[in-house]
Amino acid sequence: MSTTYNLKMLRVNLTEGTIKTEDLDEKLAKKFLGGRGLGTKILYDEGVATVDPLSPENKLIFINGPLTGANVPTGGRYMVVTKAPLNNMIASSNSGGVWGARLKYAGYDALIVEGKADAPVYMVIDDDHVEIKDAAALWGKTSEETEEVLKEEYGKNASVLNIGPAGENLSLLACIINEADRAAGRTGVGAVMGSKNLKAVVCSSKRTVVEPYDKEALRETVAKNLKLLKDNGVTGTGLPTYGTAVLVNIINNVGSFPTKNWQESQFATSEEISGEMLKEKFLVKQGFCHRCPIGCGRVINMNGKIVGGPEYEPLWAYGANCGLDDLEAITIANYWANEMGLDAIGAPTTIATAMELYQKGFITDEDCDGVPLKWGSSEAIIEWTKRMGLNSNPLAKLMAQGSYRLCEHYGVPELSMSVKKQDMPAYDARGIQGIGLTYATSNRGGCHVRGYMISPEILGLPQPLDRFATEDKALWTKIFQDLTAVIDSTGMCLFTSFALGAAEYAEMINAATGTNYTPEELLVVGERIYNIERQFNKAAGMKPEDDTLPKRLLEEPIPDGPSKGEVSKLHILLPQYYELRGWENAFPTEATLKRLELL
C-alpha cells in the first residue's frame, strides 16, 4: 500500500564511520506524525536529554513530515531536532527550500547523525548511495562558497545544507543553511553540526515524487486547499506582494515594535525599514520554497548581487532594535548572517543587547576594537555580524554565545531580552498579552512561531481578540501551540494556517498516508507533541521558573505610544494555562501523560 512515508531512516555514526538504514515504526509515526513530533520522540527515547549538547553523545536529526515531498502546497519542509546548546533544552528548527523534499525522494524520512568525526567531513546522499567524505577543503568557507563548491561537484539539482564559520566555531547562535538563504535558524543547531565536524550534507535523487495512499482523494483536497490559499487575502495577496516584512508598519503602529533592545516600543522612522520600502527599493522577485504557492521570500538586488532579502525579523532586529533605519545596511548585514551561518534573529538581537551594554558603559571603546557599538551604526551591524561569525576578537567570541551569556558576563543578565536563554522576536509582549504567554511557555525558549498569537491579537485572524485582555488567552495559546506542533510535524509551512485549519490538514494527511485522523484527533497529536517536548526539557533539567519573561516585560511599563503603561500579566495567564494543559509546576501530571498515551 502506498504512503508518503518512506518508513525508512538513515543512521550515520561519524565516530565509527558507519551508515545504516532502519525501519521507521509506523505506529510511532501515527502517534507523532513526523518532523518536530517524531524527531523529539526519537531523541527522548534514545536518552539524549541528559547529554552535553556539544558532545559526541548528542544526536542531530534531520527529519521530514509525511507531507514533505508530497504533492501538497508547501510540502517541502524539514526539521532539525537535537538537544540545544543554547539552553540545554529541546531544539527543533524548521527550514524550507528543497533539501527536505530531496531527502524524501532519496528514500528516507530522517537522517540521524551520531558521534563526532575525527576531522571535518561532509555527507553525500544520492538515493541508495550514501557516503562520508573529507571536508578539509570546505572548512572555513562561508555558506554560499560551500554550496557553490558542492554544486559544482554534484550538479545543480543537488541540494546542499551546510554550516558557515559560525557553526564550525561552535557559536550558540549558529544555524544550518540550505539553498543559500533558507535556514533552520534558531536554538544553535549549527553548533551541534559543527561539534560533530560535519560541514555539509548534499542530497539528490532521481525520484521526484512520492506515491500517496489515495491519489484521487489527495488531488481533490489539494485542489480545494489551493483555492483557499489563493482566495485568502494574506496567503493569496499580502504575503506574495510584500513578504513578512509588511509587519514592520503594523507592529510599529500599535506601539509594540521593540526599539533599542526593548527600551522603547515605537521606532520613529520605521517606514524606512518597512516591507513597502523593501519592495520599492530592492525587490527583484518573489522567492519560493518547494511546491509553495505563496512565495513570501524576497529576492533582492544588493549592490548588483542577487541575494535572499531580509524578512520581518531581521529587519526589526538589525533595524529598530539597533536604533537603525538604514535599509541597505540591513540587507548587507542579513546577507552576512546567512554567509556566516548565524541565526538572523539571535545575532542581531545580541548586537542590540551589546549596544545597550555600550550605552550603559559595560562595554568600552577598547572592547569594540575600532567599531563602536553605537545605536544606529550601519558599520556596527555589518562588522559585528562578521566578527561574531569568525570569533575575530574576545568580545565577538562572547557575543557569539548569545545575549544571555553576554549579559551574564557583565553581571546584568536581566538586560538579555530572552526566555530560556533564547532571544525573543519582534513583538513587545507587554502590549500583546497572549504572545507573552507563548514566549514564556515555548519549549525551545523565546519564540513566536510556537503559537503565533499575533494572528488573533493584532491581525484579527481567524478572529480579533483584544490584545490587552487576559480573558481566554490561555486557551487560545494552547490551541495555537498544539495546531502549530501538528503543522511543524507534517512537512508543510506554518504560513498555510492563515488559510487552512485542522480539518484541511487532517484530510491531506489521511489521503497521503491512509490514516483516519479527525481534526480533533490531530489536535490531540499536537498536544502529545507539546507534552513530549516538555518531558524532554524536564529530563534535561528545566525548572518551573524557566517559564517566565525578562524582568523588563514584567515590571517596566512601556514608556510611550499606543501601548503606554502596559506590562505583561503573566502571573494571571500562567496558572490558567497550566490548568488547561493538565500541568502542575510547569510539567505534565501523571494523569495528563496517561491521557496522551505518553506513559
Binding site: N232, G233, V234, T237, G238, L239, T241, Y242, G243, T244, A245, V246, L247, N249, I250, N253, V254, G255, E271, G275, E276, C296, E311, Y312, H448, V449, Y452, I454, S455, I458, L459, G460, L461, P464, D466, R467, L494, F495, F498, G561, P562, S563
Partner: protein
Amino acid sequence: MVEVRLFAYFRNNRGKIVYVDPNQYSNVQMILDHLGINLSDVQILLVNGRHTHAQHELKENDIVALFPPVAGG
C-alpha cells in the same frame, strides 16, 4: 486635521498619508468612502494605535491606520 496612514496596496494611487478634516469626515467609514476603500477589504483598522471599528468617531489630531489583509511571522 486627522492623519490617515495607508499601507501595502492601499497606497496604490492614494499615497502614503492623507489628511482629512474631522468636521467633514466625522468617522472612519466616511474616510473609507472618500478614499474608495471597501470596509470588507480592511483587515486592520487602528485609531491612535488601537484596534477599532468603522463607526469610530474622529477628533482633531487622531491618527487612522488602514491595512489590507497582510501578515507575516
